[in-house]
């Protein structure tokens, strides 16, 4: 009896110790993304991209001799949940660094928690200017805010010979921010800005706004919204006989999905994107692009999602690089290390520059921006 008891307790102890030891063997990275709710599709893409990065890193031996473990939590596309999830990841799961939270209002809700617990986070998709300008030194963003996108577009604008543009943007900070930043840039270049129409986040019928634009005297329309609404806009524009040049911005276009769902209505449209999965040789890191795209396809995911999921991939690789540079999985060291890393991202070098008020700057990286065109159901690089 006592021998059995002794044996049981020894085994239990051994298992517990092994468990604890195994725990200590992984480096945890928190992932705070919307897996349900309005942004479920995008959040799921980003998480799947992140998993590819984690598996790749672990296959090569992990970082600092340990495997990385993604602790993935659903923020339900809701700011209150995003903050609660950040709290859980930092205090319960004890992650030293996070990636998230997809949408700008979700990221903004998480930011006070980062300050409270002094934990850094890589922002992979959010585009609100506020994220890097309100003085939060724990934010490191790899996606471009619309100001940077506008600056990148400046170079292309002359070659397109724009005279007067209308805007049709989604009614949130991303759309409105784009309208503001792009308008400013255009006016500086002497291009007139006409109508600025908005559409609600859930709206499916933009015929009224498109009818208005059809009647205006501009020759170009700049559209900022995500793939679902873009599909609808192109179909409805075609149905209305709208013949203007359409340029979309923002990086959430997923052009393959647009081609599949809008068909001929998408022909002739141009898109400002931040990634070129169709032309790996034109990306700054062709080897990595090829690996990512083939791995994505191998896992059976929808190819159209590459244009969003690559951010999850780059985000995790950035985090990993910072941890490696820091030499230990501790928030303060990782935060300091972010400033010293340079990662060959899928859409440009990831190097963080200071952004925001002095003394508490956030990090902002400057990715490349490309112009593509859809012709005959195919994607082409726009040569100007």
């Amino acid at each position: 009896m006592t021998r059995a008891l002794g044996l049981v307790s020894t085994i239990t102890l051994a298992v517990a110790l092994a468990g604890a030891a195994a725990q200590a063997q992984t480096i945890k990275i928190g992932v705070n993304e919307p897996l349900t709710g309005a942004f479920a599709a995008s959040g799921t893409y980003v998480v799947n991209g992140a998993k590819i990065a984690a598996d790749e890193i672990n296959a090569k031996g992990g970082i600092l001799g340990k495997k990385i473990e993604l602790v993935i939590e659903d923020n339900k596309s809701n700011p209150t949940e995003a903050a609660a999830v950040a709290e859980k990841l930092i205090t319960s799961d004890k992650v030293p660094v996070l990636m998230g939270a997809w949408g700008s209002s979700l990221t903004l809700a998480v930011m006070p928690k980062l300050m409270e617990y002094e934990t850094p986070m890589v922002v992979e998709t959010s585009s609100s200017g506020k994220i890097t300008t309100t003085g939060n030194p724990f934010i490191f963003r790899i996606s471009p805010p619309s100001a940077i996108e506008a600056a990148a577009f400046k170079g292309i604008v002359d070659k397109l010979a724009l005279k007067k543009v209308d805007f049709l943007v989604i009614n949130n900070d991303w759309g409105r921010g784009t309208a503001e930043d792009f308008s400013k840039m255009m006016k500086e270049k002497g291009i007139a800005v006409g109508l600025v129409e908005t559409m609600d986040q859930g709206a499916q019928d933009m015929s009224a706004q498109l009818s208005k634009i059809k009647g205006s005297d501009s020759e170009t329309v700049i559209v900022t919204t995500a793939v679902d609404q873009l599909t609808l806009i192109f179909k409805q524009a075609a149905a209305l006989g709208l013949k203007k040049r359409i340029i979309t911005t923002g990086g959430s276009q997923n052009p393959d999905q647009i081609i599949a769902q809008a068909g001929a209505a998408a022909n002739g449209t141009m898109h400002l994107t931040t990634f070129l999965p169709w032309f790996p040789e034109k990306t700054p890191n062709p080897e990595a692009t090829n690996y990512f795209v083939s791995e994505w396809k191998k896992r059976g995911f929808d190819f159209a999602g590459c244009t969003e999921s690559f951010r999850g991939y780059d985000g995790i690789r950035t985090v990993a690089a910072a941890i490696e540079k820091a030499g230990k999985a501790e928030p303060a060291a990782i935060k300091a290390a972010f400033w010293d890393i340079k990662v060959k991202g899928l859409n440009g070098d990831i190097v963080f520059r200071k952004s925001g008020p002095e003394g508490k700057e956030s990090g902002q990286s400057q990715p490349n921006v490309y112009l593509i065109e859809i012709n005959d159901g195919k994607i082409e690089m726009k040569t100007l």
């Binding site: 349900t36 809701n78 609660a84 009614n171 900070d173 409105r176």
Partner: protein
């Protein structure tokens, strides 16, 4: 008996931050507590006057925005080339203003909505909340629209002679929410047990009869709406200063649904109902998170709701009190409403 169980419950709730060290759970309790305050205020309309208001989040959100804007300051242009500029005030002033403004909104909505009943009332309240959301979304100059109001300061209590005490930690915020919740609970309890409360219940039981004995229906409903809205505004203010970022998504219908679930599952018309329902449904997502896939969590949430409604149709608290009462050999705890008594006390 009731008083003792209430005191025990309050003491238990008050003890949490002292031994519950997990900040994640404390955070969940705080946000749940804030929504419970909102649910209690909804219960006043739903449970005690029988009006199914599905736009309650409007008052919560208005309270949040008023409080945030008061403490952040703003600068807007009004028609006629006026500019309305406001310098930041202490958050506590924001709290007070939130209660006042929300209450006022309750007054106006009450005036409009109580011309109709039943299904129509439900829909007008939903519409009101949506219109408020769209105003918050589109009046960007004032509310920042989708760009969100950020860096909202935490509440600081002015202590004469000691300066200010800023409620920064979770423990501080937890006790603040608990205190406000208690005050709201006591206020509602007093109201319900007064003869105004009897008027409310009289009109809920049988409106035509209530009118015939002299109860001023519109006045009763409007007062109930004002108090209900004011308390919801208080909850909104607490929310704004705790989460510290407000955007128009706070008006999303799902937040009203959360409060409605808390009230009805807990037992509308019972004082403790929203608290019990609130604790269960506020913490259910926390419990489901580690055990299920995200979509499955929502399916389970809906399933639990349906199950409770089937098994305990009057709500958790009334059903359990009834069973407990039967076990202990007591009759139903609820005294019958005596309308003639009320009429005798109401001025003609």
């Amino acid at each position: 008996m009731r008083a003792i169980s209430t005191i025990v419950a309050v003491a238990a709730l008050a003890s949490f931050p002292l031994w519950l060290r997990d900040p994640y759970l404390l955070n969940a309790l705080i946000t749940t507590g804030i929504f419970i305050i909102g649910a209690m205020s909804l219960n006043l309309l739903l449970g005690f006057t029988g009006q199914l208001s599905l736009g309650h989040i409007a008052f919560f959100g208005i309270g949040a925005y008023v409080s945030a804007l008061t403490s952040l300051g703003f600068d807007v242009g009004l028609p006629g080339d006026f500019r309305l500029v406001h310098a930041p005030w202490p958050p506590i002033a924001g709290f007070v203003l939130a209660v006042v403004v929300a209450g006022l909104c309750g007054y106006f909505v009450g005036l409009l909505s109580f011309r109709v009943r039943g299904a129509y009332f439900v829909i007008v309240t939903i519409s009101f909340a949506e219109v408020v959301r769209l105003v918050a979304l589109n009046w960007v100059e004032l509310t920042q629209g989708p760009l969100a109001l950020t860096n909202i300061p935490s509440i600081a209590l002015p202590l004469p002679g000691f300066g200010e005490f800023t409620l920064r930690t979770k423990m501080h915020n937890y006790y603040l929410v608990l205190v406000v919740a208690l005050i709201a609970y006591l206020l509602i309890a007093r109201l319900v047990h007064s003869h105004f409360g009897r008027a409310m219940r009289g009109l809920m039981e049988n409106e035509t009869l209530a009118i015939s004995v002299g109860i001023d229906v519109t006045r009763t409903l409007t007062i109930a709406a004002v108090i209900s809205a004011a308390i919801a505004g208080a909850a909104g203010s607490l929310y704004a200063h705790y989460i510290r970022i407000i955007d128009p998504e706070v008006f999303a219908f799902i937040n009203t649904v959360t409060m409605v679930i808390m009230v009805i599952s807990g037992g509308k018309g019972s004082l403790a109902g929203p608290v019990v329902g609130g604790l269960i449904f506020g913490l259910l997502p926390v419990a489901l998170r580690p055990v299920m896939a995200p979509e499955a969590q929502w399916i389970a949430y809906g399933g639990v709701l349906i199950a409770i409604l089937f098994l305990l149709p009057r709500g958790i608290v009334p059903s359990l009190t009834q069973r407990l009462g039967r076990r202990l050999g007591r009759t139903s705890a609820r005294a019958p409403v005596a309308l003639t008594e009320t009429a005798a006390k109401e001025p003609a």
